[in-house]
Amino acid sequence: MRSSKIIRTIAQKLFPFIVLFGFYLISHGHLSPGGGFQGGVVLGTAIILLALSHSIEQTEKKFKSRWLNMLEKLGILTLIFLGFLGIFLGYSFLSNFLPLGKPGQIASGGLMLFFNIAIGIKVAAGVSVIFYALVRYRGEI
């Protein structure tokens, strides 16, 4: 079933702002309420909104299921790799080895920003992969 033109247009115009808000939540996770999990879910919601308003095939052409699967594994491997990098540089597992900046700036948390980015990418890809699987194997929109 095809949704109406109003819904399609509004969803298309709303998509970049939702993505921007998601990236804001991820990158400012150590300064304001938010973080990797919440921002990742917002990013996944943007893809789900496109899939619900347009057709699922059109969305899968833009955001391929293979790439999303790969991004999910990449996020979790980045997290573990950053954890082991701490061991190689003489600190403990998952500890911070970057210098702490001035509190309140975006570079103040050390490794925290990279942890948040990895978690955000992983959660966004995971949520959209679950949605794709539900649509593909259990009914259509």
């Binding site: 150590h30 999990f37 911070n96 702490l100 978690i119 995971g126 992969v129 699987a133 593909r136």
Partner: protein, 89 residues
């Protein structure tokens, strides 16, 4: 006879262990003696991790293991959903 006694014995053991567990876990959080860790996080969280958001400094700084395993839980959940929905193929 023996089976019933075994069952009763089992129930008694479970009850005693539950009572012991409840008694041992009963900590008074109004007592300031038991708030050392929380007060340490509030006082030293900014100095140790450099994050203004205290929640982030706990879940990505002091308890990053927890976050890593949480991420793995979500990973396993996604794999399970895809595996169960795909069915036999």
């Amino acid at each position: 006879m023996f089976k019933e006694m075994k069952k009763v014995f089992f129930i008694i053991i479970i009850l005693v262990m539950t009572i012991l567990f409840i008694l041992s876990v009963d900590i008074e959080y109004s007592n300031p003696k038991n708030l050392d860790v929380a007060n340490y996080y509030i006082d030293q969280g900014l100095n140790d991790t450099g994050a203004i958001n205290l929640v982030a400094s706990i879940y990505l700084g002091y308890r990053a293991y927890d976050t890593l395993m949480e991420t793995i839980v979500l990973f396993v959940a996604v794999a399970g959903v895809v595996f169960c929905l795909r069915g036999k193929r």
